[in-house]
């Protein structure tokens, strides 16, 4: 009983949120069932839940989800790799650092989806173009954060590392990366969010095809067949994945690193 109470107090925020979301779903159901809005515009929440269940059972959603996640993995992985290389180059020479900063100022404000027409021209349609758009959406926030993160490590810490006999990669791994970790983590968060949005947008605007389409294509196809509950189901899956990655992955990494090391104000 005490244990249960402790569990309840620990999760009271989550419970409140769950209650809120349930209330929203209930209001949605009521609004749709009230009959003032045609079901074509706002299907009842229960219809959406049924669509979500049947599309999951048929394997359609999981297949599309797998495809989307794999694509984000490729795009984001390449973005991390290139961000590391670019930042390493920028850290080694002042002039490169200036170039990188100029490039960032120019390209960071450009949304990934805006480069899609050019990307399609260069790479054709299909998964390569979408991966490129994801790469573009994610690489700049990564570079920005890596760059500022590494620069913000206090010189005294680096000196202490040197005095302890750390050199080269050891110094990077033991002092620079942990020192820059709050920035790296927030860079990863932004990069993930932008990559996920870019993926769905790219698939819906263009370049998706039946054989190689993810959740964006799923929504696109449901729209053209006027299966509005299916459209909502696709949206819910996109939101859920975003939430799960944010909560399960980033929050736990943050708790185990930055918070444990006492690097955040919270």
């Amino acid at each position: 009983m005490i244990r249960l109470r402790r569990l309840v107090t620990a999760n009271v925020r989550t419970l409140r949120q769950a209650l809120f979301v349930t209330t929203l779903a209930g209001l949605w159901e009521l609004a749709a069932r009230a009959g003032r809005l045609p079901a074509l515009l706002l299907p009842p929440f229960s219809d959406v839940a049924v669509a979500l269940a049947t599309e999951t059972a048929s394997g359609e959603i999981l297949g599309r989800l797998g495809f989307s996640l794999a694509l984000v993995g490729v795009g984001l992985g390449l973005a991390v790799l290139s961000a590391v290389l670019v930042t390493a180059a920028a850290m080694s020479a002042r002039i490169v650092s200036e170039w990188v900063q100029t490039l960032m100022a120019i390209l960071h404000p450009l949304p990934g989806i805006a480069v899609l027409p050019i990307v399609i021209l260069w790479l054709g349609t299909g998964y390569r173009s979408i991966a490129a758009v994801i790469w573009f959406a994610a690489v700049w926030p990564l570079v920005v954060n890596l760059h500022t993160g590494l620069r913000s490590v206090p010189a005294t810490q680096i000196e202490v590392g040197r005095n302890l006999g750390l050199r080269g990669l050891h110094l990077v791994a033991e002092v620079l990366i942990p020192g820059a970790f709050p920035h790296i983590l927030s860079g990863m968060r932004v990069a993930w969010a932008r990559a996920w949005q870019a993926l769905v947008a790219a698939e819906m605007v263009f370049g998706a095809s039946g054989g190689e389409g993810g959740l964006g294509w799923f929504i696109y196809k449901r729209r053209f067949f006027m299966e509005i509950p299916g459209v909502f189901a696709g949206m819910i899956v996109i939101v859920l994945v975003g939430l799960i990655v944010e909560r399960a992955l980033f929050d736990s990494v943050e708790a185990r690193t930055v918070r444990r090391w006492g690097m955040t104000q919270e």
Partner: protein
């Protein structure tokens, strides 16, 4: 807890407001007696798309034919049949033009509308840039076929031919890529990404004029006989609420079409600047074998039967009157005994 209650109430108010706004919109749209009296200046919101197919709408616009019948047309242009359908569903427009499949998908899902006029019969065809592809069986697993969107006329024609040649309507679901016509034509000609394009004029003509391109299958082979590439659809609200405006709409479209059919040279001269083409080219396209601007509907039931069997829609109309307004039902007729030739044209052969 009190704070979260406040938030919930805010959301409830918001949702309620949404309902009211929508409900309010529909009541104000229901014509008051005063508006009825002013039928002379009856507004009609028309949703079309861009292209050769919509030549009658362009002529009506240029010659102010709708105005002649006392209508005040508001023209809106959309990028796909599905977008036209969404405009009709949301109440943004009164009438719209789309392919039979998007129209039937909407009807199947309960959209309150029926077909008001046939619009045009147009050559549609699958063009490839791969010389070794002679029929659908020659497509390899990675080969991509571009078409405007899932659920479009082109998609359903591909499914029809796939069923005929490979025994499965869904054999090419993994091959299709949704692309607007201009992009797909460019990709096909430059051999980037796609090997075939299911398309309409003028893109068919442009593509086939390049070396190495050839036609894999045409629409009449897929469907069995000619069919309306596009139909004019009127919502029940417009048809029932404004019978006079509805009749004027049908008449205005008929007049625009009759003018094109009797004055093809003049039509080409009138429309060439709209398409950014020369007059000669526009004339050649308008008079391409197979082009037919006609208000007669072709193939309405044939699409419905196939789409229901292949699983694209659930319901199938019991008779033409389920999906067409009176003028079309009367036009097609109902011959006692054997169906008449025009009745047979509603089905596949």
């Amino acid at each position: 807890m009190r704070r979260s209650l406040g938030v919930i109430m805010c959301v409830a108010l918001l949702l309620g407001g949404l309902g009211l706004a929508y409900g309010g919109g529909s009541t104000s749209a229901a014509r008051s007696p005063q508006a009825q009296a002013q039928a002379q200046e009856q507004e009609i919101r028309i949703a079309g798309q861009f292209g050769l197919v919509y030549a009658p709408l362009m002529v009506a616009q240029k010659h102010k034919i709708f105005e002649k019948y006392g209508l005040k047309p508001v023209w809106k242009e959309y990028g796909s049949g599905a977008a036209v359908r969404e405009a009709l569903v949301s109440g943004e427009v009164d009438v719209g033009f789309m392919g039979i499949p998007p129209f039937l998908i909407g009807w199947d899902k309960g959209c309150p509308w029926k077909a008001a006029v046939g619009f045009c019969v147009v050559p549609v065809a699958l063009v490839t840039n791969n010389p070794s592809i002679k029929n659908l069986k020659d497509f390899k697993p990675g080969d991509k076929i571009a078409l405007p969107s899932p659920g479009s006329v082109q998609h359903i024609l591909l499914a029809m031919q796939a069923e005929r040649e490979l025994g499965s309507a869904t054999a090419f679901e993994k091959h299709i890529v949704a692309m607007p016509h201009p992009d797909a034509a460019a990709a096909l000609i430059s051999k980037k990404g796609i090997v075939a394009h299911f398309t309409t004029p003028p893109y068919i003509f442009e593509e086939l004029s390049h070396p190495g391109m050839h036609l894999v299958v045409d629409d009449v082979t897929c469907f069995g006989q000619p069919f309306s590439f596009n139909v004019g659809v009127a919502t029940t609200r417009f048809h029932d609420g404004n019978p006079v405006a509805y009749a004027c709409f049908v008449m205005a479209i008929s007049e625009a079409m009759a003018w094109i059919n009797t004055n093809k040279k003049e039509a080409a001269a009138l429309l060439a600047p709209e398409f950014g083409l020369t007059m000669e080219k526009t004339y050649r396209y308008l008079t391409w074998p197979g082009m037919d601007y006609t208000t007669a509907p072709y193939g309405l039931m044939g699409f419905a039967d196939f789409m229901q069997k292949a699983g694209y829609i659930k319901n199938v109309p019991r008779s033409l009157s389920d999906i067409a307004w009176e003028n079309l039902v009367a036009f097609v007729g109902d011959r006692a005994g054997e169906p008449s030739p025009i009745q047979q044209l509603q089905f596949r052969r």
